[in-house]
């Protein structure tokens, strides 16, 4: 069975995706950067699942590190990576005028250069097998901007356009590229925002009236990995409770 690779899988959304896909019988590799203990606890949690699980340290913005991680994954599962889920990301809240060049670069290195490198490294083999799925985890911030997250919003917007570009170039080769643009969900990355007064006000304005739960994210990832999505490419699936309409 082919492998699914989830970048940044030890915590938050990536962890939920890794656990869900593995529980459904897929062979899942996930990368982690610094959170080795979280990675180990995930391996433990998934050890009796229907699929196999594999953890590998990786820095998405470092091509050599990505190459090593993908190579280790292929060796471990004795198969190619058929689905790549570009999930690893960082966020930072800062007023626009205080964002430094380094802040900007770090953000785009992880959130945009990382998916670019990972996609470049898996696409040649996907072309050979004439089948592949690239799923980019984007954000509503990439669609409507962010007051204190200009660099985050920019990187996630870029990711949506990278999704479209890969779809335009490689759909003919059987590689489908889609993004999931997520609204508010309770993770380490968003907990500060959703617990503040302005965050609570934002939640009140969501037509569904609450933030997302992890199951609601993992199910759409599973759908996009599957054969059932065979005519969907270049799209952003908006999972935001109606915060932003398409």
């Amino acid at each position: 069975m082919a492998a699914i690779f989830v970048t940044g899988g030890s915590k938050g959304i990536g962890r939920a995706i890794s656990l869900h896909l593995c529980s459904q019988g897929h062979n899942v590799a996930f990368s982690y950067n610094k959170n080795k203990s979280f990675a180990e606890s995930l391996l433990d949690e998934a050890k009796n699942f229907a699929g196999k699980i594999f953890a590998v340290p990786m820095q998405v913005e470092n091509r050599k590190s990505v190459q090593q991680a993908f190579s280790a994954t292929k060796q471990n599962f004795n198969s190619n990576i058929e689905c790549l889920i570009n999930n690893a990301a960082i966020s930072q809240e800062k007023p626009f005028l205080e964002i430094t060049d380094d802040d900007w670069k770090n953000m785009h290195n992880v959130n945009l250069l990382g998916p670019f490198i990972c996609s470049q490294e898996v696409i040649p083999e996907m072309i050979k097998s004439k089948w592949g799925r690239i799923i980019n985890i984007s954000s509503i911030g990439g669609q409507w901007g962010g007051f204190n997250q200009a660099h985050y919003a920019s990187s996630k917007s870029g990711l949506i356009n990278l999704t479209r570009t890969i779809a335009k170039i490689y759909s003919k080769d059987g590689i489908l590229s889609n993004a999931i643009a997520i609204g508010l969900v309770d993770t380490d990355m968003s907990s500060a925002e959703i617990n503040r007064q302005d965050g609570k006000k934002k939640i009140d304005g969501i037509p569904i009236g609450r933030i997302a739960n992890m199951e609601e994210i993992t199910s759409v990832v599973e759908f996009l990995c599957s054969e059932s999505s065979s005519y969907i490419t270049g799209q952003s699936i908006n999972l935001n409770g109606g915060m932003y309409f398409s």
Binding site: S171, K172, I208, S219, G242, F245, S246
Partner: protein
């Protein structure tokens, strides 16, 4: 079984996309209500394949007929979980040749029909239910030879937004599934060879869709899994119009 025992009405399900969605829902354990406007024979064949207990004539141009049909579904099952507004017509013509009669007919069925069904389902649809409106690539792109159809389908997207706001407090998700060009009878009747060629040139997946390829998204949007997706358009169009 992702839709086990859910009561799903699929309008215009005697053939085409509606038929495929009805089959897909039945495969996932739903109780599917088949409706048709004139293809009674085909509708009963679909019902046989989907083990449907209700096959009802429904003309979405008639509010009285809609009321009668939804009442019958309620009498049988007590409620509705999912409404798929699929029934539609198309009248192709260049913009300067489209008649007002054609315009009125298409808007009446494809847009006002959806509005009527959405209003009349409100007393019957359960909280946490789903409304799925079938849009079209034509509505997103502005199909050059389908002025009335494109306007109606874009209108369906706006209606989807409006209704999603209205039904959010009841946790009813309202979304639009927007197919591209599907290979089949409808396309054969409405697209000339040169228009087909133009359409194909837009597509990233270099072929027309199969009816079955609409089912995955339709099942997802009807299932409990999509409980945080509302007011959205899911485009199943082979990348013909990338948004």
């Amino acid at each position: 079984m992702r839709l086990k025992d859910k009561v799903c009405i699929v309008t215009g399900s005697s053939r085409g996309i509606g038929e495929s969605i009805a089959k897909g829902y039945a495969d996932e354990g739903a109780k599917v209500v088949i409706t048709y406007v004139s293809n009674k024979e085909d509708a009963f064949k679909v019902a046989e394949n989907t083990n449907s207990e209700l096959v009802l004539q429904l003309d979405v141009r008639s509010r009285e007929n809609i009321k009668e049909v939804f009442q019958k579904v309620s009498d049988k099952y007590g409620h509705v979980d999912v409404l798929v507004n699929n029934a539609g017509v198309n009248r192709t013509a260049d913009f300067d040749k489209q008649t007002e009669e054609e315009w009125d007919e298409v808007i009446d069925v494809d847009l006002t029909g959806v509005f009527r069904c959405c209003q009349e389902i409100l007393p019957y649809i359960k909280d946490n239910g789903r409304i799925i409106n079938i849009g079209s690539l034509s509505g997103e792109y502005g199909g050059p030879r389908t002025p009335s159809y494109a306007a109606a389908k874009m209108g369906v997207m706006a209606l989807t937004h409006c209704l999603a706001r209205f039904l959010g407090p009841r946790n009813i998700c309202v979304n639009c599934l927007s197919p591209g060009v599907v290979a089949g009878e409808f396309t054969e009747q409405t697209m000339s060879p040169d228009v087909k060629e133009t359409a194909l040139s837009l597509m990233l997946i270099k072929r027309f869709a199969r009816y079955e390829e609409m089912v995955g998204a339709a099942v997802y949007l009807a299932s409990d899994e999509s409980s945080y997706v509302t007011a959205q358009t899911i485009s199943v169009n082979g990348g013909a119009w990338v948004r």
